[in-house]
Symmetry: C2
Subunit: 143 residues, 2 copies
């Protein structure tokens, strides 16, 4: 018992996810798999991603709609990313200060088993088009 089987589906999921250089949703991954010839059921994709998450092999973020996005984790440690709201490009950030701060929180608050999620977003430099023609149109109209 206690076995985690190696199956073609899981192999395909992990492999395809490994080829993605940016965060992808389960739905996108499912479409990618279907397009790539190796059709894997949507349910299986979800299950595989959940397993990978539990195993600590992927980083997970939630976009503004709450949808989960996955990226195969390059290193074996917990990371945070700054993601562009326009193009979706992600960039890992050095969050050691925050990690230390969060850890200290346990001592000062009396809370145990602390967990934290940190979502960072912005607009990356390339996406910040000059918009010279529009006077004040560039002001933050959104959200």
């Amino acid at each position: 018992m206690g076995g985690v089987r190696r199956t073609p589906q899981r192999t395909a999921v992990l492999e395809t996810l490994g080829r993605c250089r940016e965060f992808v949703s389960a739905q996108e991954l499912h479409a990618l798999l279907a397009g790539g010839g190796s059709a894997v059921g949507l349910t299986t994709v979800y299950r595989a991603l959940r397993a990978l998450d539990r195993a600590g092999l992927v980083d997970v973020v939630r976009d503004e709609t709450g949808e989960r996005l996955y990226l195969r984790r390059p290193t074996d440690e917990h990371r945070h990313y700054l993601i562009c709201r326009r193009c979706g490009r992600s960039q890992p950030v050095d969050a050691r200060d925050v990690e230390a701060w969060a850890e200290r929180l346990g001592e000062t608050t009396g809370f145990a088993e602390l967990e934290h999620t940190l979502e960072l977003s912005g607009v990356c430099r390339p996406c910040r088009r000059p918009t010279a023609a529009t006077p004040n149109g560039a002001a933050d109209a959104g959200r």
Copy 2:
């Protein structure tokens, strides 16, 4: 044009929300309103909460399922909360260090219009008591 009307429904939402000492979901708030005699449509509750969010009058967090939870903001500045996964109790934390860190991030990464959300959770001290003779009379088990 451009007017935000004062209506009984919005008053009821804001008032009921103000009476909640912990984060509540839109659905819970809707039920509370119904139970309290002032029935407000679920759609209206959602719209009111979104408006309050935009106006900066409430703090919003997302629980592990992605559901949005609201709490009327006591002060007028952006806050972060540490929330107990067992009883739902919330406790504001001093996150000025993180705020400063996040602000600095804009300079070092070249990203603009930075936004961040930070979800902190743990198990509060009262909840850590190993199932004694049910000492949690006050601690609402709900959510």
